[in-house]
């Protein structure tokens, strides 16, 4: 965008500017025609299956990770994930875009998770998922090791967080929800949601900084 702005500002590069402006226009056109989640859901309610597919592809991975981190079990996450999308599919006719679709989706996911906990008493939050290690090619071994350890500490800290704080943190990170939306999803007031999020971030930050504090 900054490059586009520069090209518009410079009269010297008229050819490049026109190319950039065409690209910018094409991008703006594409963005203007990117349907919103609510519109897609309404279209699916009218029978457009492709609209649902677009909607699903937008949110499936984030919802899956949210449920995976929240439950700590892949099997549980799979079950809840199916349950969530089953409910979304069922709600296609009664859906009214009164709130942002993401809020609606994560609220369904949150409620499905709560129901799952009630149904399965075996639920435990202490399971640590196997971390998928990714390292940059140019990274030194020491840096890569430190980064890997930091990730591991963060993941362990995440699993040890109280459930409400972890929920608030995951809603922020995976769903991109604001404090108000987190409050709406979890059914608490704004200050409570804000407090939970603040405590979660503080604990995770201290987990990352742990070796530095020691040194």
């Amino acid at each position: 965008m900054a490059a586009n702005a520069q090209s518009f500002a410079s009269p010297m590069n008229s050819g490049a500017a026109s190319l950039c402006s065409e690209a910018a226009l094409a991008y703006a056109h594409a963005m203007a025609h990117t349907p919103e989640d609510s519109a897609l859901m309404l279209r699916y309610g009218e029978g457009d299956v492709q609209a649902f597919e677009i909607l699903y592809r937008r949110h499936n991975d984030a919802i899956y990770r949210y449920l995976l981190r929240l439950s700590g079990h892949r099997d549980s996450a799979d079950d809840i994930f199916q349950d969530v999308w089953g409910k979304i599919i069922k709600a296609r006719e009664s859906y009214r875009p009164t709130a942002k679709f993401t809020t609606f989706l994560y609220r369904v996911a949150h409620n499905c998770f709560i129901d799952h906990i009630r149904r399965n008493k075996r639920h435990s939050t202490n399971t640590v998922l196997e971390p998928e290690l990714h390292s940059d090619p140019g990274e030194s071994l020491e840096t890569a090791t430190e980064r890997s350890l930091a990730r591991e500490r963060l993941e362990i800290a995440l699993t040890t967080l109280p459930e409400e704080q972890r929920d608030a943190f995951l809603l922020r990170e995976e769903g991109g929800l604001s404090v108000d939306q987190i409050a709406a999803v979890t059914g608490c007031n704004r200050e409570t949601a804000k407090s939970r999020l603040r405590y979660a971030v503080a604990k995770l930050r201290s987990a990352i900084d742990e070796p530095a504090e020691r040194s």
């Binding site: 299956v49 499936n60 995976l68 799979d78 599919i89 995440l158 995770l204």
Partner: protein, 235 residues
């Protein structure tokens, strides 16, 4: 440290995103997408394709019926429009080409009060004529008053405004005044000058079938001429 930095730390977010890279298993994707497609097909299947046309047809039919019903109701209410009610009764009577109730001949009155009877055979009409000329005339007057009262009530009901209500009450008052005037004018002032001519007028009224008017005139006569002896009608 601001509130935003308390709620959100970029380093924590970055560290979280570096390890949180799981994606939905492909089997789950396939299962959910097929579930969505199947659910949509069952909702909009061919078996239920007739629902929309039927719904449209029903809506159009009901709308037409409603419009027809409203048109008929408006036609029925037309004689009692606000303009008619607001018009003073005296003007209405003056503009009305129909004769006054007392001057209407009995067949005309009969026709006005009950239109279907016009198609009845003549002997029956004559029988009714001979049996109850007086009652027909009284019925006509009663019908006229009932109609005016109905107009009054409908004007009050239809128009919530004070003006319409006032107009309606004036209409009713005018009707009452007219009724009183009719009662007084059964016999002329000249006729009332002597008891004999007045009584002759009473007899004439009774012969015309206006027995109520005759009784009223007789009472007025006796009040005016207390010494007057009413002749026996049998003699």
């Amino acid at each position: 440290m601001t509130t935003e930095s308390n709620d959100n730390d970029p380093r924590v977010s970055e560290a979280y995103r570096s390890f949180s890279t799981e994606t939905t298993p492909k089997e789950l994707d396939r299962e959910i997408l097929s579930m969505a497609a199947g659910s949509s097909r069952s909702r909009y299947g061919l078996a239920r394709a007739w629902i929309r046309p039927v719904a449209w047809a029903a809506t159009i039919g009901l709308s037409l019926a409603f419009v027809l019903e409203m048109t008929q109701v408006r036609d029925a209410q037309a004689p009692y429009s606000n303009a008619d009610v607001a018009e003073p009764l005296e003007e209405r009577i003056a503009n009305d080409p129909a004769p006054a109730p007392a001057q209407i001949s009995v067949p005309a009155a009969k026709q006005a009060s009950s239109p279907p009877a016009a198609t009845e055979p003549m002997p029956q009409a004559e029988a009714e004529l001979s049996m109850g000329r007086a009652s027909v005339s009284e019925d006509f007057e009663a019908d006229e008053m009932t109609m005016l009262r109905d107009a009054d009530e409908q004007a009050r009901a239809r128009s919530g405004s004070e003006q319409a209500s006032t107009a309606a009450s004036l209409t009713f008052d005018a009707a009452m005044t007219l009724e009183k005037k009719e009662k007084i004018d059964h016999c002329d002032t000249d006729v009332r000058s002597s008891a004999e001519t007045w009584h002759a007028c009473v007899v004439e009224l009774r012969d015309q079938g206006l027995s109520d008017a005759a009784d009223e005139e007789l009472q007025s006569l006796l009040a005016e001429f207390p010494g007057f002896e009413v002749p026996d009608p049998s003699r």
